[in-house]
């Protein structure tokens, strides 16, 4: 048969170097993807003033929320402040289960938690108590003895100015944070 597609493989077009180059580029991409771990570690620091509607006197209280991601490990710490002193802090260490789109959402599973209190009496305000309960629920309420995952959605982020606005699905909390 006089079919040029079958008969003349290389005439007029040196395709072999192109194919070898493409295979090399693909291999390089896959190797880089396999061996090079992109550094996506991040630390967010958020602080807030707070106003307690039940208290009529002037207040100097606030909250501090910190999130640190190292690899797939996530550490969260919520601290209640009064007169710039730490009153109660609830911290938890968990695992980043998944990152999903289109709204950048981090699914976090808490594995362990700790409570630190400087209160003289172990009587927590209702909102502190609620935070503690939420953390407990996140650790123990999940299926097969695992915790119940919660979600952190990134509403707005600008790495050049170093700020991010996030939403936590628990209690529909909003935080604007500094990217450290």
């Amino acid at each position: 048969m006089n079919n040029p597609l079958q008969r003349e493989l290389f005439i007029g077009f040196r395709s072999t170097p192109i194919l070898i180059t493409l295979i090399f580029i693909l291999g390089l991409c896959m190797a880089l993807d396999y061996f090079v771990e992109p550094n996506e570690d991040v630390k967010l620091a958020c602080s807030s003033n707070s106003y307690d509607h039940n208290l009529s006197r002037p207040q100097h209280s606030g909250l501090r929320f910190e999130i640190e991601r190292i690899g797939s490990s996530v550490e969260l710490k919520m601290t209640y402040l009064n007169d710039h002193k730490d009153l109660v802090s609830v911290s938890g260490i968990g695992t980043l289960v998944e990152i999903s789109a289109p709204v950048l959402t981090y699914e976090v599973q808490l594995d362990s938690a700790a409570l630190k209190s400087d209160l003289q009496q172990e009587v927590y305000e209702p909102h502190m108590q609620e935070t503690v309960q939420l953390v407990k629920k996140s650790i123990t309420n999940g299926a097969a003895g695992q915790g119940e995952a919660f979600y952190i959605k990134v509403l707005e982020m600008d790495k050049t100015t170093g700020f991010v606005t996030i939403q936590l699905n628990e209690r529909n909390a909003l935080w604007a944070c500094k990217i450290l």
């Binding site: 040029p4 597609l5 079958q6 003349e8 493989l9 290389f10 005439i11 007029g12 077009f13 395709s15 192109i18 194919l19 493409l22 295979i23 580029i25 693909l26 991409c29 896959m30 993807d33 958020c46 602080s47 807030s48 003033n49 707070s50 106003y51 307690d52 509607h53 039940n54 909250l63 789109a101 709204v103 950048l104 305000e125 209702p126 909102h127 990134v154 509403l155 707005e156 982020m157 600008d158 790495k159 050049t160 100015t161 700020f163 606005t165 939403q167 699905n169 209690r171 529909n172 909390a173 909003l174 935080w175 604007a176």
Partner: protein, 243 residues
Amino acid sequence: MFIGPVRFDVELRQLVNTESAQALKLSNIEFLVINELISSRGQVVSTESMCALLLPKVVTAQDITIAITNIKAFLGANTASMIEVVTNQGYLLHVKSRTLQMHSSPYAAFSIKQFSLLLLLGVMLVIFLATHFKTTENIHFSLPEQILLDGKSSVLVPIYSSDEELDSYQSKFREVAIKLEQCETLTWDKIYTSASPAGDMLHFVMQVEVDKAIKFENLKVLNVGESWDFINDSWLQEYGLCE
């Protein structure tokens, strides 16, 4: 002596195409030119040397060019390329045909197997790039509701986590927007706000762009009851939502 399929007959002083059986009777100039080219095959023959061969007859470079053109016209497109015009030097008759095989389409030079492999690699590259290189540099979330504060260049952005929250708090956030509109000065470009599902906690995130940097503040309102009447002008001023 052959130039491709064309035989040079010295005795009859003609060129004979062995494929088409056509012949060209050569003029004196054409005969001497082709004879000189064949005898110096693979080498450049200068125009001047060819002119000198024809002495005492006066022959110009123009005459040589016309003779070459006639010979090439007889040789045909494929074989004519064996005679090369070397600029400012002369003419060269190649030993072998330099003809490149031309294809009717670019795909004819490419095997189906190679084309398929190239296509497959291209698709794999696209899939690889699309799945492994996601950019999350800056995110500007398109929000379902932004309440533009009348008379201000600011917006209040309520964030709801469910339709139930939307039904419960939409009217209340609109009342907050009306109170913010009554502020004399509002320093924030954007105020995000949300309520906890139980309604006992309000969140405010305020932000403003100053000199290409973002200034922001958070405010948490705890133990909120059914009524949000505490949110008034003085409260908004005290907690920095307006001045």
